[in-house]
């Protein structure tokens, strides 16, 4: 796939503290690449360096479709994490102004703005002042402003934060459609379920360093071992001694058995001792959410092929 953006060896320090170390990844045309990590991990700093709002100490950011050293701002759509709009202006005015700053033809911008307002249930709001919009409506307008000029690269920093489920689905669909039509999308989010549903590849970051980087399938294969959840009264030591069990967690009457990477779930189930107290049992893969929480909590307990990941 065609590479649109390359970040290579990005380093950044604030007050002698390294906040980014050797960050390297690519974003391809037509893919959704997720950048994940707990608060303060360095996601927004990475994005701000890409956008030229901050300047990296080391490393390079290459826009493969741009000529010259300048950031091709008019080819990039950007929705920052901390965002808002001018309050006392009309919706259409602000959309056209932002499109104009991207050198996008005004007539086309107006047509696309109307189409998107319709699509996002904001028909008839074009002449309404921004301050009269609800928070959700405002977020939709912000999202429209980031995609109105048909960007080749779309950078979305926490696009789903504060959205209701209906709007979340709307945004999700639109982001998928944009990717399908060839836009390269770099997206940061905390909502792992959404990321899991949407992204093609992911880059997970903690303390400014890479933790995981690869396609979603690879990551799942690599990191997402099986886990077995049992409701019942069983001795923790008994559970820990079962074959193929890497570790056990107990919470609210549930025992969660994390299995080793090469465990075959069917065979493992057959070999469970009959004397175990089982009221309920389920077996599934560790989710991206659990990997994320694990990293965020700095537990370093998950294994990659049975070895600590960090």
């Amino acid at each position: 796939m065609e590479v649109m953006l390359s970040v290579e060896g990005l380093e950044k320090s604030f007050k002698h503290k390294k906040v980014l170390q050797q960050i390297t990844f690519d974003v391809h045309k037509g893919e959704i690449m997720a950048i994940l990590g707990p608060n303060g991990a360095g996601k927004s700093t990475t994005i701000r360096n890409i956008m030229g709002i901050l300047y990296p100490d080391e490393g390079s950011i290459i826009f493969h479709h741009a000529t010259g050293k300048e950031i091709p701002r008019h080819k990039i759509g950007y929705l920052p994490e901390e965002r808002g709009l001018y309050k006392n202006v009309k919706v259409m005015d602000i959309l056209l102004y932002l499109a104009d700053l991207k050198d996008y033809p005004l007539k086309k911008a107006r047509e696309r703005a109307m189409a998107y307002l319709r699509k996002f249930d904001l028909e008839g709001k074009e002449n309404v002042s921004v301050e009269e919009l609800s928070k959700g409506m405002g977020q939709k307008v912000q999202f429209i402003s980031s995609i109105l000029h048909e960007p080749e690269l779309l950078i979305l920093d926490e696009p789903f934060s504060g959205l209701d489920p209906v709007s979340q689905d709307l945004f999700k669909e639109e982001i998928k459609n944009l990717a399908k039509s060839g836009t390269a999308i770099l997206l940061s989010s905390h909502q792992m379920n959404l990321v899991e549903e949407m992204c093609d590849r992911l880059f997970m970051i903690q303390h400014g360093q890479k933790v995981i980087y690869g396609t979603l399938d690879d990551v799942k294969k690599q990191y997402a071992n099986f886990k077995c959840t049992i409701r019942g009264r069983n001795e923790r030591t008994v559970l820990e001694q079962l074959p193929g069990v890497e570790r056990v967690e107990e919470r609210e009457g549930l025992s969660i058995l994390f299995l080793l990477k090469d465990v075959n779930p069917a065979a493992w189930l057959r070999n469970l001792p009959a004397e175990l107290d089982i009221h309920e049992l389920s077996i599934d893969r560790i989710s991206l959410h659990e990997i994320f929480v694990d990293i965020a909590a700095d537990k370093h307990l998950l294994t990659e092929g049975g070895q600590a990941h960090a």
Binding site: R48, M51, G52, I53, R73, H74, I76, Y78, L79, P80, E82, R83, G84, L85, Y86, K87, N88, V89, D93, Y97, L98, D100, L101, K102, Q142, S145, S146
Partner: protein, 413 residues
Amino acid sequence: MRNTMKVAKWEVKRNLKNKSFLIGMFLTPLLMLGGYFIFQWIGSTDVPDDDAAVLLVHDELGVFEQLEAIVAEQSLSLELEQSDLLESEAEEVLTDKENMAYMAIDKRILDNATVPVYTSEDMGEWFNYDIQALAEPIQQIRLAQLSLSEEELAMVTEGVQFEEHVEGTLDEGTANEEDTEAANILENLVPGIFAGIILLSIVFTGMMIFQSASQEKKDKIAEIILSSVKPEELMQGKIIGYFVLGIIQVAVFLALVMPVAVWKIDFPIIEYLLTPKLLLLLLIAVLGYLLFAAIFVGIGATMADISTAGNFQGMIMMLPFLPVLFIGPVIEDPSGFMAQLGSYIPFSAPGVLLLRLSFLETWPWMEIGIALLILAISVWFFMKMAGRIFKTGILMYGKNATPKEIWKWMFID
């Protein structure tokens, strides 16, 4: 530059669509005009001709014509009537009259310097002042009794006049040159006032830059804008945009006030205005604007809200008003030490220079040159510093920067 102009255009458009800006723009000159007309109306109705007090003059010494001349010359609110009425009858005649008085001019003036005046019960409030003006010809009669020569008489009645000479501006004018002197004063004063209006107006709209920059932080839109334009472009766009708004304000002001001024004021304003000196005065005004715009945009980028301004920011916001301290000394002596000092301090220079050049007939070109150089270097320096503050400050949402942080952005980062 294209992006700068787009930002500038947006700021102009946004404000011109803003009701409170529009109301302010039209209301100020209209209020001024309204105030002017109201005062004029009050002035003209306060002492109407109908209310002029009728003064019956019983003149035995033949000064009536002189008195009438004084009434006409000084537009006194008196209507003189020569009367044969005797003093003894006066009281009776005045009892049922309003705003009427009786004056007997006879030899008592010569004897004991008194002029009996009888008035009706209600008199206009200016009557007592007005009749004082009639004392001069009556006094002349007394002096004539002293058998003075004409020269002596002239000397006594001439009185003493104070003639002021200011060192450095001494220009030995004679009475014949009085007209040209007045014209010279107007020649400098009119462009000076004009440039002063422009400076004030653009500095006031310049203060809106401060609000615009801090609003950018409050509305959290800075990062979205900065994904399309560079911080310098955003800052310059704001400075240019508000400059244009200031000029529009001046234009509206002049369009409304100028016709009335030309109509009501009896000298050729336009002729005095359009002189080469105006260009220099305008340059001073523009440099002044750029200096304060840089300060406002920089400080605006450090604050989330004006209401949270600390002492530090508050003090800096007061800098454009520094010339106020110099107004007194500069008017008293436009070439004095304080005037020179004010010209060399960049924050007071624009105001002080405009004030001095409006009053000085001979311009001190050397001082102007040095002051302009200091001002221009300051503009360059403050723009650069404002750029550094703006770049970082504008993205610090919901938080005010401390002086220490601002210092760091300016000189260390």
